[in-house]
């Protein structure tokens, strides 16, 4: 028997075992699948443009992983950052951030003094029509806000304190990086040439010791407009 014949039979056996399983009645204890409105929105977005939805969902998964990494770095800072308090030399040689390029990654590496204060809560005031805030994840030194419209289209707005031991990475695929100014602050516009991919705008506010980033399917003008409308917000609203 050849490998191909064996695989053909294996395929048939596996399909038949799946059929047998599917014919078995549902357990009474199994809960019903009751779709949430978020799931409905996301599936609608998937049907409108499957590729764009895929890129966004991949981006979300990567973003969650990046947030976890950032939190791990912050834990390291809390553990070892005490050295800074007792070392005047270390305090004196503080440099706030460096930008490094590794292959397809732009890496913002912070070396600034640790800030134990709570991050202020910022929001985007000038959102495109139909977008509302749907999630705000607040972690030590990091806030990630999600805005969504009825089609499931998403804008991400993240910001973090520039602490020693933390970093922000932008992974480039087929992107062009352009230096820009956001309210007289240095920033970079990362423009993807892949249709449906997100563009990103990031900038550093040295006075606040915060790096901001907005990502979405918008051009530079659209992202700049949103970036320049960022303001402190009242979460009790």
């Amino acid at each position: 028997m050849t490998e191909q014949e064996l695989d053909r039979i294996m395929r048939r056996v596996l399909i038949d075992s799946l059929k047998t399983e599917a014919e078995q009645p549902m357990e009474e204890q199994a809960p019903l699948f009751e779709e949430t409105s978020r799931y409905r929105r996301q599936m609608h977005a998937m049907l409108v443009n499957p590729l764009r939805w895929l890129h966004r969902r991949e981006h979300t998964v990567w973003r969650k992983a990046a947030q976890r990494i950032a939190i791990i770095f912050l834990v390291c800072v809390l553990t070892f950052g005490g050295v800074m308090v007792f070392s005047p030399t270390a305090r004196a040689t503080v440099v706030r951030w460096v930008i490094e390029w590794y292959g397809n990654t732009i890496n913002y590496l912070y070396t600034g003094e640790q800030n134990m204060e709570e991050l202020p809560q910022y929001g985007v005031l000038e959102l495109p029509d139909g977008y509302i805030e749907t999630a705000r994840d607040i972690a030590p030194g990091l806030v990630a806000v999600t805005y969504e419209d009825q089609n499931g289209d998403v804008i991400y707005f993240d910001y973090s304190f520039m602490h020693q031991g933390t970093q922000t990475d932008f992974i480039l695929t087929d992107d062009v990086v352009v230096d820009v100014m956001v309210d007289q602050m240095d920033g970079k516009f990362i423009e993807s040439h892949i249709p449906g991919n997100f563009n990103s705008l990031t900038w550093i506010a040295p006075d606040l010791n915060i790096q901001f980033a907005i990502e979405g399917c918008f051009d530079l003008e659209g992202l700049l407009h949103m970036a320049e409308s960022i303001s402190l917000c009242n979460l009790l609203k």
Binding site: M1, I9, E27, L32, F33, Y39, M46, L54
Partner: protein, 174 residues
């Protein structure tokens, strides 16, 4: 790779086909996910992850006979659900292949063979389904299941060997 996706799913015909697949099969996929995970949020994640796989491998849709498509989709969503289950439990159950393979001696007809394969240890079945049914490369399976490429290859060859032995012993003509 990305440009390949674009070539495959950019046309209106492909999108219509994708929408038709969703309309016809999403309910069954959702039932399978909730049955395994018993948690709405995890089940939604499993179904969405399954559709991510469908989009990534959309070119394969055209090679699958229509009558097998529902089971191809069920296989994908089951694998995604078991992955979530495994992540949530943070442990990997022990799988005793030698005890399982001894049951091959009891197989006397095709139905018994199908029943035996429906009770394969989880990772063995996932590897065989992903490799033989879904056509994934070993690297993809390894990354997806979080096991080494050697473990993927071992599971695939053990499964094939077991099937070969049963076929030779019983002389099935399939």
């Amino acid at each position: 790779m990305l440009s390949f996706f674009l070539a495959v799913l950019e046309s209106d015909a492909d999108r219509q086909m994708f929408a038709a697949i969703y309309d016809q099969h999403h309910s069954q996929m959702e039932c399978v996910a909730i049955k395994i995970l018993k948690n709405q949020s995890d089940a939604e994640d499993a179904v969405q992850n399954a559709f991510m796989q469908v989009i990534r491998h959309f070119e394969k849709i055209y090679q699958i006979p229509c009558e097998n498509l529902p089971f191809w989709l069920i296989s994908i969503v089951k694998n995604e659900a078991y992955m979530i289950l495994r992540k949530n439990k943070k442990t990997v159950p022990l799988e005793d292949w030698s005890a399982f393979s001894k049951r091959a001696a009891d197989v006397s007809d095709y139905d018994a063979l199908v029943e035996l394969f429906s009770e394969l240890p989880d990772t063995y079945r996932q590897v065989l389904e992903m490799k033989v049914l879904l056509g994934y490369a070993d690297e993809e399976i390894s990354a997806h299941l979080g096991i080494s490429k050697t473990a993927v290859s071992t599971r695939a060859s053990r499964g094939r060997q077991l099937l070969k032995e049963i076929l030779e012993k019983e002389g099935f003509q399939l």
